[in-house]
């Protein structure tokens, strides 16, 4: 049972990491156009080199 003392903080930390990543995505406006972004993966405009 002592292992819980490590596992619970680790679980919380990892979850918190996910939460922080979501905050970052939200702040950098990645949820502004969900509809368009889901379609953009279908275009091959910048498949060969990244958009400058």
């Amino acid at each position: 049972m002592e292992v819980l003392a490590f596992l619970i903080p680790i679980a919380l930390f990892l979850g918190g990491l996910g939460l922080a990543a979501f905050f970052w995505a939200l702040r950098s406006r990645q949820f502004d156009d969900p509809e368009g972004d889901s379609r953009r993966i279908l275009t091959d405009d910048w498949d060969d080199q990244p958009k400058p």
Partner: protein, 730 residues
């Protein structure tokens, strides 16, 4: 008519009508480096890259990015790039585009409230999952120290989360309680707070049950419902603002020395002289000081025939100048103009409609007091049964509050309206009002306006075949010398028929009358009946006279809006009574009615008549859907049970209507009523589902058998069923 003619040059500086007061204040000089265009027809990945590629290839454009969710594109460009040019580029590759006022858009671009809600959802979701993990251990049999430790960890996660994430509910509940009323947020806040407080106490007392996970999932699911609701409304609101941004409120003022300056309409005073160019909308009420032209009043009256305009004649804001430049002395501007007074009338009619109670409100009105009474009854009953055990009684009361879970109710309506309005938005319909869908579902009568709604307000030549080839060639040559809509329609029709213009000399346009030229020493004239010496009939016509020969008439009919026939057929198939009412003359109205198979029509209706007709039908118990675009329709639009206007409609008409058709096509209309009816059916099903859950779960809770596990199961199961049921709409 004017609106359709205007849709291309919407960015022209002078075409501005009925701008709202706030916008008058902030109408600043245009042409920043950032432009916004509305793209009503965009819908796929191919469209995105086509539009972006075309715009990026345009000289002066630095970057273009399409937002498909909002159906608009943001363009960063050099200051000399105009929206007009970009619209033409997009038109060339087959996409309808309209300029949007960058100033208005920028204010709404950052959706702070939505992001705030998302943040709270994320936090409560994170906390819910972690607490749920710990709870599973407790449910599967952890005891003593382990259970207490898990409960304490849960408390440490749950309490700060609730304090942060559930704030919107607390704030709302506090606000309505201060006014002595109840809404859904009161039982929600009470359930969350009591569950958290009770669980904390139980944890401190080493009790077996803690409801931290229930309090958190309640918060999470309800926030999700709240966010869906917010998003539907935000999309509608921002798009409504976009529509408002379609008309940029500016006018050209003539200085004393005769030079022109472009000023916001707010800066125009009575006594100023403004220049109204051909093709532009009259921005103010005034009297013509100089110039001759023809005036299109279709947006104000529904008449399709242009009227002659000369010095001394009064003009109203919203009319469209067709042929010659005019100088107009202002008699009333801004707030005092006739257009603005009309908009005020609409505001009065609007407030009457706001009394409609939505299904969600009706449900909340029964639900909120019911839940409180039930929980209180459970508390008192168990207090009496157990002989004064407050802890037990309170535990059961909390369980009742949590189990009666308003999650399903909180999601029942927003999940369906989000799905339905998303579906309609994809088809180019924008729902501006929260209860519009519910009202649309109740409709049994549809009234269409004619000019600009069933028709495009663009004339089409109807009798080219009846004329001699020589006449046609002369008419074509003359028509090409004018920008008048009839002339343009004739030229287009004749060119399509493969005709070439005759060789004429000295072609000149006589504003307000027509075009004349010389053919082998003879004068040829093409224009108004009186000017060429003919007797005017009741049909829209332009007359051609060659030398001393009798004049011949070229007749025109208004072009039918695409999808009109389909929409009417579909509405009829759904058992709706379709009627038409117009301010136009009986002949063209009867003509169109016959073409569309509408038996019940009224012509020469004044704006008051239209509203009275709608009112009379409403008094007889009919639920009227009014579809119209003109200023003469606004009162009727506002008086109807629910109303729809096309995006080309006047600002005032769009403000008065609940739903706006973004594209040119009328066909989605048929779909709209069907979708609305389906949506309301789903909402009612959702209420039924959550009622059934409550019927099963509440007795269990009342008897004191509810455990945190049962609460979690009931809550998640009902929320998910309700959401899935809503998704069936697609």
């Amino acid at each position: 008519m004017g609106a359709a003619l205007q849709s291309r040059p919407a960015a022209c500086p002078a075409c501005a009508v009925a701008p709202s007061a706030e916008r008058l204040a902030e109408a600043v000089a245009p042409k920043e480096a950032r432009l916004f265009l509305s793209l009503p027809t965009i819908h796929c990945a191919g469209c995105i890259s086509a539009v972006e590629r075309a715009l990026n290839a345009t000289p002066g454009v630095r970057a273009a990015r399409v937002n498909l969710t909002l159906k608009r594109v943001a363009v960063e460009a050099d200051p000399d790039v105009t929206a007009d040019g970009l619209i033409r580029v997009l038109d060339g590759i087959g996409y309808e585009a309209h300029e949007l006022d960058a100033g208005v858009i920028a204010a709404t671009a950052t959706d702070k409230a939505g992001r705030d809600l998302l943040m709270r959802i994320a936090v409560s979701g994170f906390a819910m999952m972690n607490v749920m993990l710990l709870s599973v251990a407790v449910w599967s049999g952890a005891t003593d120290f382990t259970r207490d430790m898990f409960h304490w960890i849960s408390a440490m996660i749950a309490l700060p989360t609730i304090a942060f994430a559930a704030q919107p509910f607390f704030r709302n509940a506090a606000r309505v309680l201060r006014h002595g009323r109840l809404n859904m947020d009161v039982p929600i806040s009470l359930a969350i707070l009591l569950a958290a407080g009770m669980s904390l106490y139980e944890t401190a007392q080493h009790g077996p049950h803690a409801y931290f996970d229930a309090a958190l999932s309640l918060t999470f699911f309800l926030l999700a419902g709240r966010y869906l609701d917010h998003r539907t409304r935000a999309v509608a609101r921002s798009a409504a603002e976009e529509l408002a941004a379609l008309e940029v409120p500016r006018a050209i003022r003539l200085r004393a020395d005769g030079t022109e300056e472009i000023v916001p309409i707010a800066g125009i005073a009575v006594g100023d002289t403004v220049r109204v160019k051909p093709g532009a909308r009259v921005p103010v009420d005034g009297v013509i000081a100089e110039g001759r032209s023809e005036i299109d009043r279709s947006l104000l009256t529904g008449e399709t025939l242009p009227a002659f305009a000369g010095p001394g004649m009064a003009l109203s804001a919203g009319e469209v100048n067709l042929t010659g430049p005019l100088a107009v002395t202002v008699t009333a501007a801004g707030e005092d103009s006739s257009l603005h007074r009309m908009a005020d009338l609409v505001a009065v009619a609007e407030s009457a409609r706001n009394r409609y109670t939505s299904l969600a409100d009706r449900a909340a009105r029964i639900y909120a007091p019911g839940v409180h009474l039930l929980a209180l009854a459970a508390f008192l009953a168990w207090l009496w049964i157990s002989g004064g055990d407050i802890r037990l009684a309170l535990n059961i009361a909390v369980a009742v509050l949590i189990i009666t879970c308003p999650c399903a109710l909180g999601l029942a309506v927003p999940a369906v309206t989000t799905a339905a309005s998303g579906r309609l938005f994809k088809r180019g319909m924008l729902i501006k009002d929260g209860t519009a869908l519910e009202r649309l579902a109740e409709v049994d009568t549809v009234i269409f306006d004619k000019t600009g709604t069933l028709t495009l307000g663009m004339p089409e030549s109807t009798n080219l075949g009846e004329h001699a080839r020589g006449d046609l060639e002369i008419a074509l040559a003359l028509a090409e010398g004018s920008g008048h809509p009839l002339a343009r329609a004739l030229a287009e029709g004749a060119r399509k028929a493969g005709l070439v213009p005759a060789r004429l000399s000295e072609i000149r346009e006589v504003p307000g009358y027509g075009v004349e030229g010389q053919l082998g020493g003879e004068t040829v004239r093409f224009g108004r009946a009186a000017w060429v010496g003919a007797e005017a009939g009741d049909q829209t016509a332009a007359w051609l006279r060659v030398g001393q020969n009798p004049a011949v008439a070229f007749t025109f009919a208004d072009r039918l809006r695409p999808g009109a026939e389909e929409a009417i057929a579909r509405l009829r198939a759904q058992g709706l009574d379709v009627r038409m009412v117009s301010g136009d003359a009986p002949a063209p109205v009867a003509d169109l009615a016959a073409r569309l198979g509408i038996a019940d029509w009224t012509a020469e209706a004044l704006p008051g008549d239209k509203a009275a007709l709608v009112q009379a039908l409403g008094d007889r118990g009919a639920r009227v859907l009014m579809v119209g675009d003109g200023l003469n329709d606004t009162a009727a639009l506002a008086a109807a049970h629910v109303s729809i206007s096309p995006a080309t409609a006047l600002d005032a008409a769009r403000v008065a209507s609940d739903i706006v058709l973004l594209g040119t096509d009328l066909a989605p209309l048929g779909e709209a009523v069907r979708t609305a009816r389906k949506a309301v059916r789903r909402i009612n099903e959702n209420f039924a589902i959550s009622a059934v859950y409550n019927l099963v779960a509440v007795p269990v809770a009342l008897l004191g058998f509810a455990t945190p596990l049962a609460a979690a199961l009931a809550m998640s199961a009902s929320s998910i069923t309700v959401s899935l049921n809503a998704l069936r709409l697609r």
